[in-house]
Symmetry: C2
């Protein structure tokens, strides 16, 4: 049978990896797919560089539209990134009847509903395993492997840059700014790291996973997003003393009143497997009502890990492109006419436990006032740690771990505590999840 | 559309779980599959008990052949287990044109080639996600999620009973016999635990994974199988001192000369994620050339985790049963005409590192003779630990960790060391893998 012909839009890191892995493993892949899969056309603005990468094996053009217009091309792989030209080209490829494989989490988290509807109407597939957690087949696990389950929650380390930074901060006791510079020097963080360190990239991925897990449309604008830039080394140390690690988690959780969708630094018990995921690695924990807890771990970025996911999608599309569209796995796991309009909860309505650090004057009655305020708001205390003040020190740190509570009342309690004259510095508050 | 009709053969633990999860999550599953999936018929010798479980919702019969003969039944789920009647019924179901879902690892590891060929010839699917690692979608990950990769190796904790026992032996410092009794009392081990503790169950699963990973037929008879019954608490302690944990691993590894397929207790670095998988949990590490290291973790047994895998297969079959068989994922991941005849290596040809414990006379020259023998066989030493002998003791333990070596020469070296008059007890040898 004639090989499936693939056109790459963009041959940067992931595009180059995809081309190389497809070439290196072509025999292995053909033995699996029952048919060859070949990149026969590449569009990249830097034509010279693209030509030096692919040699004679594919035609290189500057204009992506030449790829889309080529009737020989079966599948278009979009590796340009961002919401702009990538969106236009994906929509044009769909309109031209091409199947699309993309690693573009930003595009899908923001415009997924429009893109998937266009693909459905045109009878083509948009596959995006590479958009979440790189080489880990988490989209397939959620969409197919766990299809028996009512998913209860997902919690993932889905941004390698921030996990590398947090691992270094903890193991070396360093501050955020110092480690960020080191991460940039080593290539773990980009020159402009904003999307990573502010949690935006993780929120894109969490948005996509939430949609697939709960059968809701992608709603990035409803996600609560906090990064790690304000995290202090002191809190990582205190957390450790209490048996916790701090990770930037993307969390999606089903509640009776709606869906929680949030990205923020989170204390998790050090004994959990996911707490021990270090460096730039990714891991996602999925809790299903039948299967219980499952975890998926691997590299979340990089040329070949991401290419692994892109090519798995190419194999899937190759297998299914002649099948009745009704037999395909729906883009968001649930049939398009069966999506739910379950609301995404406001952060004030979220239920979670808290870690609080208060710098207080070392005098009688302080703890009683602080705990009194928490009690007024119905917030119960799980653990309390008061650092002994050193000789001559006038103030001390009080660390409080609460039980699960609603965030709105917690914020009010924190504001009241902050107003106490004996509370000497801004209160640090972090969310804590047991993940059990 | 009319619901897909499923017939269960056997409604024990997993069958009951499957029935309950399908009933409880029917709406969620229908929203995903686009079609209802209903158990309409159950065959079980204990008709009364089966009726009390399913009530009016399914017809209960004693004779499995009534299910197979029913033209309304689309998919037969075999949950009887074993090689005997289960094999006959699976072959009959295939002959009757039914798709089959099974959790029967023993059957597939031994008779898989015959069964898959019959299914191919008849144009039906045999799905078996539940046969390996319970609720973890590892078959799907290997067969589809990692299809871009040349798989290098797989190492899995794929038997919950033995992992529970090893976890207890380590954390409580107890001997095997004591913990086995405790495991039986708690329901983690069966009354006749032979298949679990002798490594046979793990070898069934490793055999299936090896076939899928490397595109070779299932060859259970070629697997090297060792259990945990001879493991001593002392070696778990020494391993810990050296920074290792002992786990019963199923290992499949590609070498230039063939495939290693083996199950045995294995020292692995304590810092690896899989070393921290405790209790009855399962985990599988897969190393692919593009994706690098990935890990999959979850419950490997139990009613609902296993049902999660059975039902995921039901959804997959529901989606694909009207599709062209050429578009389906091949049973063993590779197209049936593209399987390789790569040999399974004899254990003597396997390459691995070793942990040796020698009880030796506490006198001059012993170490020199022992290390001399290793050197003669070209085996290099990675680490050596000599326990200080207590006051008045005449003998001491010497622990040696070797670098990777071929097992054949290692066995010869061990025999020579054993013959030394200063070696006072049977030498303990365990394999060690870095899993990196």
């Amino acid at each position: 049978m004639k090989p499936i012909q693939v056109g790459l839009l963009g041959i940067g890191t992931v595009g180059g990896g995809t081309f190389n892995v497809l070439t290196r493993n072509q025999e292995e892949i053909r033995r699996r797919a029952g048919r060859g899969i070949e990149v026969t056309m590449v569009a990249d603005l830097d034509v010279e560089r693209a030509r030096s990468l692919v040699g004679e094996r594919a035609r290189v053009v500057a204009d992506a539209r030449e790829v889309i217009a080529n009737p020989e091309i079966d599948i278009v792989v979009e590796l340009i990134g961002g919401y702009g030209v990538a969106k236009t080209l994906v929509m044009e490829a769909i309109a031209a009847g091409k199947h699309v494989v993309t690693a573009n989490k930003a595009l899908l988290a923001v415009h997924g509903t429009e893109i998937f509807e266009a693909a459905r109407a045109r009878g083509v597939m948009v596959a995006f395993e590479a958009a979440v957690a790189g080489g880990i087949p988490i989209i397939k696990a959620l969409r197919e492997g766990l299809s028996a389950n009512r998913i209860e929650w997902i919690a993932g380390i889905i941004n390698g840059t921030t996990n590398f930074i947090l691992s270094e901060m903890r193991s070396k006791g360093l501050d955020f700014d110092v480690v960020l510079k080191e991460a940039q020097r080593l290539g773990y963080a980009e020159a402009d790291p904003t999307f990573d360190i502010e949690g935006v990239d993780a929120a894109h991925k969490a948005t996509i996973m939430a949609a697939i897990a709960f059968g809701i449309p992608v709603q990035f604008d409803k996600a609560h997003v906090e990064g790690i830039t304000k995290l202090q080394a002191a809190d990582i140390r205190y957390a450790e003393q209490l048996g916790y690690r701090i990770k930037l988690l993307g969390i999606a959780r089903r509640r009776d009143s709606g869906i929680e969708l949030r990205v923020h630094p989170t204390l998790i018990p050090a004994k959990r497997l996911i707490a021990n995921v270090e460096g730039a690695m990714n891991a996602v924990v999925v809790q299903g009502d039948a299967v219980g807890t499952t975890l998926y771990y691997g590299k979340g970025a990089g040329a070949e890990p991401t290419a692994s996911a892109v090519i798995a999608d190419l194999v899937d599309v190759t297998r299914l492109h002649t099948a009745d569209p009704g037999n395909r796995v729906p883009h968001l796991a649930f049939q398009p006419d069966a999506l739910a309009n379950t609301p995404i909860l406001d952060i004030d309505q979220v239920r979670t436990a808290f870690y609080l650090r208060l710098q207080v004057a070392d005098e009688a009655g302080v703890l009683s006032r602080v705990t009194g305020i928490l009690a007024e708001h119905g917030i119960s205390i799980d653990a309390l740690l008061q650092r002994e003040s050193a000789e001559g020190e006038q103030n001390t740190d009080v660390i409080i771990l609460t039980h699960d509570t609603i965030e709105g009342p917690m914020r009010k309690a924190i504001a009241q505590m902050q107003a106490l004259p004996t509370v000497l510095a801004p209160i640090v508050s972090l969310r804590k999840e047991e993940l059990a």
